[in-house]
């Protein structure tokens, strides 16, 4: 009897198949977008010359967390930022055009890959300075509290940010004032080429948050079902308590830090075996396995979705290629409001 009820309690709730099929599509679209972007950088000729940091391997985080938000919530991120916009429904053509510096880009070609944003959809931007976006999230949290709503703000950052002073000033203040910010560290194990072990005196990132007396948790960043389910609970609680939460997502990036961090430089800090290990924990594969077990996705559908995503990414690149460059009169616009 006791055994049976324990089993019942442990049984996962019925999967919201429609939602996770949508998440699956989004993740595949992000993957193909990023791979297309990466190839376009390597190929050259599309206008991508600056820094490009792709998100392949980390898709479950953007999709699972942004998918738990309401339309009036805020979120912001760092320079590996294409996926945040795509997960929120920003037009992939406009994102690709921004990466390529075109007038049709999200920032009219003035920001580039690291500075995608979508004010209308609550995406308050990608920032190029490690940890620089963290204090800004504090301000968005402050604005929410000031107006008395139950919105939340999500701040995405990498493990490298946690060694910036800005991070520690901010987390202390956030807990002190109890501002509704969900702090999400995408622990992909490397700050550029420097591993967690080589840069954090305490490599347990969640443990480092003890000193701020903030609610905290470490979660598998590759399993979007688990991640999204837990984040939905956290977000619900935050809307009631208005208090901050620190969430560490255990994840990995397949490509180098940026597009310029190729196989040669990557050899200085990680092995092929390590990359291969994480590719076996691929967030898309994991979700496909779940959906297929539930008979919610067939192999044909899966292949069709991947093909559609490739086509969509190519279409985004084509849109960008056909888009005009910014006109010279744009140079001096938008410095001041």
């Amino acid at each position: 009897m006791a055994k049976a009820s324990a089993a019942a309690a442990a049984a996962p709730p019925a999967l919201d198949v429609q939602k996770y099929r949508r998440f699956h599509e989004q993740m595949v679209h992000i993957r193909e977008f990023e791979e297309t972007c990466h190839r376009a950088f390597q190929r050259g000729g599309h206008g991508i010359n600056g820094y490009v940091h792709v998100y392949s391997g980390e898709e479950a985080i953007a999709v699972g967390i942004i998918g738990a938000l309401r339309e009036d919530d805020y979120f912001l991120g760092h320079y590996r930022d294409h996926a945040y916009a795509l997960a929120r429904g920003t037009d992939p053509g406009a994102v690709m055009a921004e990466i390529c510096g075109k007038a049709t880009g999200t920032s009219k070609g003035k920001g580039g890959s690291m500075h995608i944003c979508d004010a209308e959809r609550g995406f308050y931007g990608g920032y190029g300075i490690v940890g620089g976006n963290v204090p800004i999230a504090l301000g968005l949290g402050k604005a929410i509290r000031y107006r008395g709503g139950d919105q939340i703000c999500v701040c995405f950052f990498g493990d490298g940010s946690m060694n910036q002073g800005a991070f520690h000033e901010t987390l202390n203040m956030c807990q002190l004032y109890k501002l509704p910010v969900l702090w999400v560290v995408e622990n992909n194990k490397y700050a550029m080429g420097t591993s967690i072990e080589r840069s954090h005196a305490n490599p347990d990132l969640t443990d480092r948050i003890n000193s701020y007396a903030m609610k905290r948790e470490c979660i598998d960043g590759q399993d979007v079902v688990k991640l999204h389910t837990r984040v939905s609970e956290i977000v619900k609680e935050m809307r009631e308590t208005h208090e901050p939460f620190f969430l560490e997502c255990d994840t990995y990036r397949y490509h180098g830090h940026g597009a310029a961090d190729g196989p040669v430089t990557q050899k200085t800090y990680r092995t092929r075996e390590e990359v291969e290990f994480w590719r076996q924990r691929d967030p898309i594969l994991i979700l496909e396995r779940v959906l297929m077990e539930q008979k919610a996705l067939s192999e044909e559908e899966r292949d069709r979705i991947h093909q559609e995503a490739r086509n969509a990414a190519e279409a985004a690149l084509r849109f960008s290629d056909e888009s005009p460059n910014p006109t010279p009169d744009e140079l001096l616009k938008d410095v001041y409001a």
């Binding site: 009219k108 920001g111 944003c117 204090p135 301000g139 968005l140 402050k142 800005a166 409001a337």
Partner: protein, 338 residues
Amino acid sequence: MAQLRYIDALKLALTEEMDRDDSVFIVGEEVGQYQGTLGLTGGFLQKYGPERVVDTPISEVGIIGMAIGSAMAGLRPVAEMMRMDFSLPAYDQIAQHAAKIRYMFGGQFKVPMVVRGPSGVGNQLSAQHSQSLETLFAHIPGLKVAVPATPADAKGLLKTAIRDDNPVMFLESLRMYMEKPERLEAIQPGLSEVPDDPEWMVPFGQAQVLREGTDVTLISYSTMSIACLRAANQLAEQNISAEVVDLRTLLPLDMETPLRSLKKTHRAVVVQEQWGLYGCAAEISAQLAERGFYDLDAPVQRVTGAFVPMPYSKPLEDLAYPNADDIVAAAKRTLFAQ
């Protein structure tokens, strides 16, 4: 028209704007319970409450970040730096974030915030508490920089800064804070007068002629504009008529007013409290040379502080920044007078 101290004019501006607009709030160290380190925000916490008067840890990066994010979301934060020197830990938030957000996001966001605090030489505050850092801010596109000299401008420019939709660095003159109105009136009648009208404001990018003259133009801002008035008084005793142009804001910079004055006097002295090398006075001198070359009867003279960290010892400190005598000497150089 009331005669006010500079600090009281600042307080009046903050009070009027906080009364007028619920989205204005103050964030900084010791602004609330302590009533402001110099008393500027005395009574504010009691009147406006802790959501609008935010006491912070000694965390300038966090303070500026809170201002930026809340400004992007539509509030109008006024971040106080206990001294503007303390903005340096947050220079990344100011120069890399606040200043650039509008441009790098293609105009999707506004950042209507003010970073304000006392600036410049005090009374033996030594190397790390005596700086005038306006050059570091005026060099960055996307920021605005206000440097009020008089009580009236302290009020009128601060109100404009709060209502501006861009990040404004508002550098107040520490030495002017407590100057009694009667002392200011002795330098020049009317110098301490502040209009009562709460809608009276001073627009950015409009320099003012603080004193009219015909022989030489003295150009400066903040505390040094007052030093220029003292110098003009001394020059008058020697029958030299000096015009004093006070720039009020460095970004935007009004060069039309100094150039118009130069057409009249044909001589110019540019004064900056601190380091001259690559400084604001250098920029203004360059523009006078580029645009006013044919009006000049003598080389533009710069009067700037010694290129040293501020020394503590009073006799050394006195040597480290310009005074009225230095300005008088420079004015006479332009007139080839002894």
